[in-house]
Symmetry: D2
Subunit: 148 residues, 4 copies
């Protein structure tokens, strides 16, 4: 499988694997990549000037509609892993993010994506507020030479 080719700006964050994230196979349990994508996504929103806490304070939620993961190599306890996050596409009411998690040698461990729709506090789908859409759109277009 070819490595994913991010189109715009890539946001990166790294951390060490916790012992609690391993399972009886001696590797990271496959479910833990989902919160790791979320860590990447939250960092991506910070980078885009849209802290998720601010979005919630504005009265909005991002509801997940779809998630996919491909598992290539296992992560192990204490490995330093990096979550790379970028926008695949953004529309007026939702967006699709892509992820790649790599190890210290930049080998791909997993790839994946999540789709979201914007919702109000009652969970009703709605348009992104104009400034949120503008910031996401600008960030997705940006190609500032960040490591890809």
């Amino acid at each position: 499988m070819p490595r994913p080719k991010p189109k715009g700006r890539v946001s990166e964050i790294n951390f060490r694997v916790r012992y609690a994230e391993t399972d009886a196979m001696g590797i990271v349990h496959h479910s833990h990549y989902v919160p790791w994508f979320e860590v990447g996504r939250i960092h991506f929103l910070d980078d885009a000037g849209l802290p998720y806490r601010t979005i919630e304070e504005m009265g909005y939620l991002f509801l997940i509609t779809d998630l996919g993961i491909r598992y290539l190599r296992p992560a192990r306890f204490h490995d330093l892993v990096t979550v790379r996050t970028w926008i695949d596409k953004v529309g007026s009411r939702g967006m699709r993010l892509e992820y790649e998690i790599v190890d210290e040698e930049r080998l791909t461990l997993v790839t994946g994506h999540t789709s979201f729709i914007c919702a109000d506090k009652q969970g009703c789908p709605t348009r992104f507020p104009a400034e949120v859409f503008a910031a996401l759109d600008a960030f997705g277009q940006r190609d500032d030479g960040a490591d890809k």
Copy 2:
């Protein structure tokens, strides 16, 4: 260590250990007994006629203030474990529950306790509503020959 001696009614619930709850030592990660105590506690409240969902709907929260666990034997994947929960003491503003988790041979895996205070939706400590206190107190006193 002697087995704990519950004073009143004991509430029991059982379930199988999930693979996701194991760690690289091949046993259940020590953190997972905390949500298991919670499963026992929720079932205990159901048994006492006080579903936690109802308590939240009435505008109250139980805030944990203290937790302790003693680890005696490890649980493993697919083991059928039973959480036993009972009241140690209940006051006008809080309570202390005790737990024992046993395997299929009724061998003790862990013992523990949690203390709670009653709070309103803003998180301010408050008295238990009268009917909640009465139900907890009655349940704690009850000695109806349930398995101990």
Copy 3:
């Protein structure tokens, strides 16, 4: 989205949502459906006469290669949810399972799939042992009028 149409035997297991599985949106965090699929899968293997513990004792692992989830409705604390699991396809070296999680009214909360390859204890891909393949294949074909 049309409901998935299982082709063979469907295995079902139910349990209540734990408080620890909720998040600050007041609903189940989207990552927890992954261990729930696993609970369904382990139960499915029990139903097929292939307890996963036995498979590990025979010296084999099932390594996940791919996972997908579609989120339709949120689950909430204390809901009784049912995980429905069936085989989409099985080959000599791997299989693809499908899942549907429903609430007490049999409304679909999420759908999903996972793909696995068979591996030895060193994690090297290998063929399913003959008796495992036979049991999976037979179970996948079976159409015994179980609820679909």
Copy 4:
């Protein structure tokens, strides 16, 4: 409650609260402080020159026997929390660590402790290897002016 007074060297590590670690009360679920203590402990062992991965490679495990937590203030999504870890006592076959988790204003969120015994790969209690005991003992005694 007075703040704990560490006796020797204090090891510190910080990270942001994950959304997946919150619950329906809008705060961090009380179970997540247990893996956070572990993150602190692993970092403490790194600081002491005893990476846990090395200990496992030497054929030893640290088995937890006892855990206690006092909850003072809740952590919330995206808070930057710091886990402070130090030795309370170390013997020939086990040790007791203490923890304090603080927020960005250095306010105490929780305090706690864990006790461990040294075991071999079969889980049989054994003495610490001499170099492990020496390193733990030296680290526990050290009072090098680190922030307390």
